[in-house]
């Protein structure tokens, strides 16, 4: 059974000047165990798509099937990593990471234990009692990642997670994400990452969905079978990057 299936998803917003169509007839299927990147120009509705999958907003028409069943409201088997980190400024790193666990009714002792595991995994040791404002951007997104991992989601959703960071920090965090993804004891089986950086998609994902804008629709669905670790300087890497780039450019 497929993990996730989008069937003819459309989304439009009411706007002062009429309706704005953001997504139109978006359909695809994601199998269990896939790392999918969604790329496209800004305004192609990729973030909206992610929010519909999470259940933060309903589609105007169409269906989202999660493991064969139609979803209704927030899907608690997903967890989201936000572009802006979205950490509660008044909660410590540890309390922020425990947020999702608390919502799922995990007992305090278990909560603490699990938060500890993921603090360790993303390299936040020693920062448990720090507040977000005391952290650098990279450290903040580590907290965002740990908060999402801590609920041990079957599907991890990432909304441009590295685009608010400087280039060097983004490289480090991408490597760490891959480590987490490849480690055997991770409960996360699936990742959907939304990005506008084509290299990021090619470096990370097994499969790339290319969206075009106005309104957002699927224009290509590519398999990435470059061996990991992927080297950005290799010919095959660049060939794929160029291919995705020209796909987007054609439609613009």
């Amino acid at each position: 059974m497929a993990l996730l299936e989008l069937r003819n998803i459309s989304k439009s917003f009411l706007h002062a000047a009429g309706t704005l169509r953001v997504l139109e007839n978006l359909s695809y299927t994601i199998e269990e165990g896939e790392f999918v990147a969604v790329v496209g120009p800004s305004g192609c509705g990729k973030s909206t798509m992610l929010r519909i999958i999470n259940g933060l907003m309903p589609p105007t028409s169409g269906q989202v099937l999660y493991r064969g069943r139609q979803t209704d409201g927030i899907n608690l088997e997903c967890a989201m990593v936000f572009q802006s980190f979205a950490l509660m400024p008044w909660l410590t790193v540890k309390a922020n990471i425990e947020l999702g666990l608390e919502a799922r009714g995990v007992a305090p002792i278990e909560r603490e234990k699990r938060a500890g595991v993921y603090i360790d995994k993303v390299g936040l040791d020693g920062f448990e009692e720090a507040y977000p404002r005391e952290l650098s951007g990279g450290m903040k997104q580590r907290v965002g990642l740990a908060r999402a991992l801590a609920v041990e989601p079957r599907l991890l959703l990432m909304d441009e997670p590295f685009s608010a960071l400087d280039a060097l920090t983004a490289i480090t965090l991408r490597e760490e994400l891959l480590e987490v993804w490849q480690s055997a004891d991770m409960p996360v089986h699936n990742i959907i990452i939304v990005t506008h950086m084509i290299e990021e998609a090619v470096e990370l994902a097994d499969r790339i969905l290319v969206l075009a804008s106005g309104p957002g629709r699927l224009v290509a669905d590519l398999k990435v079978d470059l061996p990991r670790p992927r080297d950005r300087r290799k010919e095959s890497f660049n060939a794929l990057t160029d291919q995705v780039f020209s796909l987007i450019e054609e439609r613009a």
Binding site: R51, N54, L56, I74, L76, C78, A79, M80, F82, Q83, S84, A86, L87, M88, P89, W90, L91, L99, G100, E102, A103, R104, Y131, R133, R147, V151
Partner: protein, 575 residues
Amino acid sequence: MATDTITARRLTNGIIAFLLIAVFVALFFAYQHHGAKLHAPRLHVSARNLPYYAACSFLRMLAAYAVSLVFALVYGLLAGTSRAYERVLIPVIDIAQSVPVVGFFPAAIYFFVALAHGSRFGVEMAAVFLIFTSQAWNMALGVYEAVRTLPGDSVEALEVFGASGWLKLKRLLLPACVPKLVYNSILSWVTGWYYIIACEIITAGPARYQLPGLGSYLMTAQDKGRTGEIIAGLLTLLTIIILMDAIVWQPLSVWAERFRYEFAASSEPIRSLGMFDALGAIGPIVLRLIRGATRPIGRVSRRAFASARPFNPAEHPGLRRAGRALRIVGQSAIFALIAWGLIEGLVALIRTLMRPWPTEVRRIPLATLASLARIIVAYAISLAWTLPCAIAASENPRFARRLAPIAEIVGSMPATALFPLIIVFVIRLTGGMNLVSILLVITGMQWYVLFNLLAGVSQIPADLKEAARSFGLSRAATWRKLTIPAMLPSLITGSITAWGGGWNALILSEYFVYRDHTYQVFGLGALLDDATYRTDNSLMILLTLLSMVVIVIVLNRVVWRRLYDLAADRYRIEY
């Protein structure tokens, strides 16, 4: 060690500031017996005279606002641009803010009536002065904050181009003040209305002062039980407030948005669109009309000046010398005035304190506690309904959109206009003056809390709300982890303002004369009013007023300032 010296310094500052206030108040009382004989004009309670009375009150407000605006700009710009001025001006305004304006009124009347040699003009000046003191401080602080938080690079950008003096003021400092000044002006008008209604009729000792205006009209109409006239008066007031909002504040708010620095995280809400949507549409039209009307003036003046050579002060050494001389004269005049006031006030203070102390002085501590308890209850009740409202607004944007305009109208209606009716109604219903008093204090507190909370709620970042939902937080957990912490800074700001309003309302609410019957409860406000209206004992007025100032300052320093620092440190949202 270091904290000890800071505490000691703060304490000395506090004591010095307090002494300054004492001297200032006493100075006003030195004129107590100059203006006792004053003819109060008769008031004709008839709907036909309403336009005249409305115009009187409106002009009084306008005069006070004009003075406040000039004061706020000069004071705020001085404090914001010069470290030396800042060190003096900011503590002074901090203390001035905590003086209950209403208690100060009789003293102000004595002073201004004496100044105007017993003419009605003196009472007018006193009323304008009272409104000014309720309007000026927050505006001045707004200007100061706007100038101080100006992004450094925009200052540098102007300096790079060699801009200085007038150009810097015109292109950088004044525009930067606009958003905060507009926002605070709206607030100032709301407070202004609240007090003008209460201050147009005042009995001070043997003298009864009465100014023609909406406030005195409403009070007299209620005293005579003329329902039709009361309703007509209230409708007139409501009309003025709604028209002001539609014609002045809406267009100004829209205009002010242009001057907002995007990345300087705004502490004010972008105003909800209009009291009524229909009226909201008037705003842009008026704005266009004003622009259309002023354009020719600008064109003509530009043409007139286009031929003239730009004025360069360096080419006119005589003018510069004259300017310098003028500044020196002005500064010495101000210092002389301050010195005179200090000496005169100190003499008056000592003379007043040397008088035999009345036995009622012993009741002051207990009265303070009684009043404090009343304010705490009123505050708790205000919170009890505004907090759920704000939380509901955070969960339901449609409710927030409906609530904001209604609250805006109801909140701008000065409750003081209805005090006599409320008192009579509630006393008939329950017989308890204590309840009435608390109710009236609530009218002076609740809107500050509500408006600040709504502003706080509207600023909760969308991504934090999404995160809370995405992680499946329950409603209660969302309140605990997101809504309430996010509201804390604005809750505390609102509470500080509300408590200021509460002390003022207390003076108006613990003692009330209606149809020759005095309604009162035991409290600091009642002691003050009794001394003002009945015994005319300036020592007692001075002592109760100073007790009030002391408790307000102590509460501000011990409770609110600390909470505010905590909130600003921990619960601030920044990106």
